[in-house]
């Protein structure tokens, strides 16, 4: 077996040194009746070539986004990731290292996390950020639990414009952790009275920008109203690229930002692994979940980095921890950091402008398709289209014609049969848009 260095001769030598007759003898504490007498009757070891052949055959049954005109979004966005990103994250010193608990041998990871935290704070307009969560959805649930701790209240109002998965996950946590979640009805055309749902036990209102249906919102007034009611405003962001041109949640008055970082550096990966971004105000930092890197000095007085504020965390605090999270999304956070470093201020802004421009072109073209109506006044790189026929079968039909036409809203809200979410990014070409519009016209005819 190519990954196992011991030879049989060495195994015998080692057993002799140990003073055991066999490897099996070392398993003596396992009850006899629970011990297998030999390998299970399952497939045997395979060489690289055979494994590659088997998995490549599975991969070949999928339609990669890059092989067709592609318009899916709804919380996961296809962007071009510069080659340097994947090269750098595959350096063994990043890829095969552990959580940086031993700072003297982990300064590389720690400094990168400190840079990640700074980037996240800057683009969200917040004061501080942690070293990542699993994804945007779980980060949102954690944000609500943090708001509950900060306000000592137990009810979260979840906007109808919040991604349905984020809503479901927060509600699951609510049921088991013991807090109430109020789900405002989904509002594809926008407009909802969230403050009407706020009461004296409300810890936070959770909204999304741009929202699930693509609308871009100014939450400044909502933030003020929340604060007057003693509640916090949590803003979720599912497309980090939008922050290149849209006023960040921090400037609108958000108290906690929970975002999906996948759009920068990570890739689609069929939904995971992704990277949750989590940012807040400095005064709330001791209630923040997750790891965080901080600056300090070493024994010679030189600047260095450590994981800090660990008295919030499970390995120190155990049942009193702010969260049970341990392993987070380190390498995806690194990919995010590198991609963001490559983009820089100018590149990040331009990328956002390019995404928006492509989406405007797409919206303008789809508006000319008979039987398709764009619902959005405002949007960033994704919007909702009402179709004259049910969206899911149309998407299936277009998939057969090698166009991935977007995400039917009925996948989340079965009754919203006629709504289709479509996204465009910098990877979308004018040809893609034309092919989509043409095929959609045929399908709606």
């Amino acid at each position: 077996m190519r990954y196992l260095p011991l030879t049989d001769a060495e195994r015998r030598q080692m057993l002799q040194m140990i003073g055991a007759p066999s490897v099996e003898a070392l398993f003596r504490d396992v009850p006899e009746e629970a011990r297998l007498s030999g390998p299970l009757d399952l497939p045997k070891a395979m060489g690289e070539l055979e494994v590659e052949r088997a998995l490549a055959a599975m991969a070949a049954k999928n339609t990669p986004a890059g092989s067709v005109p592609f318009f899916c979004g709804a919380g996961a966005y296809r962007h071009h990731v510069p080659a340097a990103v994947d090269h750098l994250i595959q350096r063994g010193e990043f890829l095969t290292s552990y959580t940086p608990y031993q700072p003297e041998v982990s300064q590389g990871t720690l400094q990168a996390l400190f840079e990640f935290q700074t980037q996240v704070a800057l683009i969200t307009g917040m004061e501080v950020a942690n070293a990542s969560m699993y994804d945007g959805a779980t980060a949102t649930a954690e944000a609500v639990m943090m708001a509950n701790r900060l306000t000592r209240r137990g009810k979260a109002i979840l906007s109808g414009g919040l991604h349905p998965h984020y809503r479901e996950i927060t509600a699951t946590h609510g049921r088991f952790v013991g807090f109430e979640t109020v789900l405002a009805p989904a509002a594809p055309e926008g407009g909802e009275d969230l403050m009407g749902l706020v009461d004296a036990n409300t810890s936070c209102v959770v909204v999304q920008n741009p929202d699930f249906f693509g609308h871009v919102r100014d939450y400044g007034a909502l933030a003020e109203a929340c604060h007057r009611a003693g509640a916090l405003l949590v803003v979720a962001v599912t497309e980090p690229v939008s922050l290149g041109i849209i006023t960040p949640p921090g400037e609108m008055g958000a108290d906690i930002v929970a975002a999906e970082g996948q759009g920068i550096g990570v890739g689609l990966n069929f939904g995971g692994p992704y990277v949750g971004l989590f940012a807040t105000r400095e005064k709330f930092v001791r209630q923040m979940p997750g790891r965080v890197a901080g600056e300090t000095v070493d024994a010679d007085g030189r600047r260095g980095w450590v994981l800090t504020l660990s008295t919030r965390e499970q390995h120190i605090r155990r049942e009193k921890a702010t969260s049970n999270i341990c392993t987070n999304s380190g390498l995806c956070a690194l990919a995010f950091t590198i991609h963001m470093a490559l983009l820089g201020e100018a590149g990040f802004t331009r990328l956002a402008e390019l995404n928006h421009a492509r989406a405007v072109q797409l919206a303008d073209r789809l508006a000319t398709v008979p039987g398709a109506t764009v619902l959005n006044e405002t949007f960033f790189n994704e919007f909702t289209v009402r179709l004259a026929k049910p969206a899911a079968p149309i998407v299936e039909r277009l998939a057969k014609k090698r166009v991935l036409a977007g995400v039917p809203v009925s996948r989340f809200y079965p009754k919203a049969k006629d709504l289709l979410l479509v996204a465009a990014t910098e990877t979308t070409t004018e040809d893609d848009i034309e092919i989509f519009a043409t095929k959609l016209t045929e399908a709606l005819r």
């Binding site: 080692m14 990871t109 935290q117 479901e168 901080g294 010679d300 049970n324 201020e345 990040f348 390019l354």
Partner: protein, 515 residues
């Protein structure tokens, strides 16, 4: 002043690093923060001019500069390459972190996870266009069920602690479905911190079970605590002392007798994979850290994946989504009445699934039998090599990791932390320290099966020599370690007292200190 900061100030005067003009030391190159590079308006990405369109983002156009530095690709590549060189890694050397299973990460798995058919597919594409992805998830699930003997598996949890959350929520859902409410979860003293944190996060009171003098669960103490208000026990097996619980079948029976469930923390599955099926031990639920046993890279702290295998009684309550065989091929179930709901966006850690399946298929049943055998053999070999100078915490053979306490450092003036830091100068990552909490000054060593005998011998020689050096009275050597790293001991107390968690431009006003 803490013990730690005394240790630091004690040697600050004594050993400054060799001075160079640049501050660099040979291959160790100093590297400032990205944000300290000049802005310059550069970008490492060339993007086309956006087409002229009528903007439709509304009245929320971002104003003013974000504050991101602008650098070219060569600068970025050099920056992160230099950072990488300040890290220890499995690729660099033996990584003896107990309970973390730092084994070799095969590069085939990286290659396969990057096939466009896996890496470049969207989670919400029509199911008809991702049949291969669903097949892969189904195939990995099949292996995980076969290796554990369990009938079901929830694939979506993102890491071990997330798997625990999934398992305990599933247990609570099953108990509630019986019309019962139970208040307590029993957790041994030696458990990972995530166990009590998870139980508390699911609304349970945590009650500790003491260890007996052999480092195992005290069966009598456990039985005394088992009552109808106990929902579950959370037990790591092999436990964090590196020992198998010999009474496991009796523990399972006692737990089931009061109607409670047996949750197993599968962090140490590497010790028994392919040789012992958790189902045969009476376990009801167990998470599997794919980033431990099945070698998906730790990545400096994730991403991981923590699928949870479930018994027949728990399976109906598993979180959505799951893959089923339908009429038109594989289908995804995303809503279900009995299910506890959703725990993770989309369908779980697909990228990790590809790597784990490639790992499992590479080994096969015969290779996995050898994996656990060699993992246990390597740990026992280190125990045999080191026991002359170090003090094993418990008698008898260990499983895949070996636990020492700090009796061998008694009266040397050297603490466990100092001993571990001295290993760094010798080119090794320290072992896990001060965990588990059940022995004094714990040193937990897990070599894994991917270390050669030669590698183990060199490590043992260094550890033995260090132990002798400590006993010879050279405490100063240990207190000052490490000396050869990019940074020496870091002041963690100061970092926590006045947290600086991000870069700010010089002279900018800092926000008020944390409450």
């Amino acid at each position: 002043m803490s013990e730690w900061s005394q240790a630091v100030s004690g040697f600050r005067a004594s050993g400054a690093a060799a001075e160079t003009i640049s501050g660099n030391r040979g291959l160790q190159i100093e590297e400032n923060l990205l944000f300290e590079k000049d802005y310059g308006g550069r970008s490492g990405v060339d993007l086309p001019e956006p087409p002229k369109v009528r903007e439709r983002i509304g009245a929320v156009r971002r104003k003013g500069r974000i504050g991101l530095p602008g650098v070219s690709e060569p600068q970025v590549v050099r920056h992160f390459t230099r950072l990488s060189q300040k890290n220890y890694s499995i690729d660099t050397g033996l990584y003896p972190l107990g309970s973390c299973t730092m084994k070799h990460n095969p590069r085939l798995n990286e290659k396969l996870a990057r096939l466009p058919g896996f890496a470049d597919i969207h989670p919400l594409q029509p199911v008809s266009t991702v049949q291969g992805a669903l097949e892969l998830i189904d195939r990995l699930a099949w292996w995980l069920k076969a290796l554990t003997g369990m009938p079901a598996v929830a694939m979506s949890p993102a890491a071990g602690a997330h798997g625990e959350l999934c398992g305990i929520m599933t247990i609570r859902a099953a108990i509630e479905a019986r019309g019962e409410r139970r208040q307590k979860i029993l957790v041994p003293d030696s458990a990972h911190g995530t166990n009590p944190a998870t139980a508390a996060a699911c609304g349970y009171a945590v009650e500790a079970i003491p260890a007996d003098p052999r480092g195992r669960v005290d069966l009598a103490a456990l039985e005394a605590k088992l009552a109808p208000d106990v929902a579950a026990i959370m037990l790591t097996n092999p436990n964090t002392c590196g020992l198998f619980e010999p009474d496991i079948l009796r523990i399972a029976e006692a737990v089931h007798r009061v109607g409670a469930f047996f949750y197993c923390d599968g962090a140490n599955f590497n010790a028994i994979v392919g040789r012992v099926r958790p189902a045969d031990l009476g376990i009801d639920a167990m998470h599997i850290n794919l980033h431990k046993t099945f070698s998906t890279p730790h990545g400096g702290g994730g991403p991981g994946a923590g699928p949870v295998v479930l018994s027949e009684a728990l399976a109906p309550f598993a979180p959505v989504p799951w893959v089923v065989h339908g009429k038109k091929g594989f289908e995804l179930v995303e809503k279900d009445k009995k299910s506890l709901g959703r725990l993770k966006g989309f369908h779980g850690q697909m990228g990790m699934f590809v790597r784990a399946l490639a790992y499992i298929m590479s080994h096969g049943a015969d290779g996995l039998w050898q994996v656990s055998g060699d993992a246990v053999l390597n740990a026992n070999y280190l125990l045999a090599r080191l026991r002359g100078e170090l003090t094993p915490a418990f008698e008898g053979p260990c499983m895949h990791e070996v636990l020492f306490d700090d009796r061998f450092l008694k009266d040397t003036g050297v603490q466990t932390l100092d001993f571990a830091k001295a290993l760094i100068d010798e080119g090794y990552h320290p072992m896990t320290m001060y965990f588990p909490l059940v022995v004094h000054g714990a040193l937990l060593v897990e070599p894994t099966e991917t270390e050669s005998k030669d590698s183990l011998d060199r490590f043992a020689d260094v550890v033995l020599a260090l132990a002798r050096r400590a006993k010879a009275g050279d405490a100063e050597h240990f207190k000052g370690a490490p000396r050869l790293t990019p940074r020496r001991r870091l002041d963690e107390t100061a970092a926590a007292r006045k947290p600086v968690l991000r870069w700010r431009p010089e002279g900018s006003e800092k926000a008020e200190a944390a409450e």
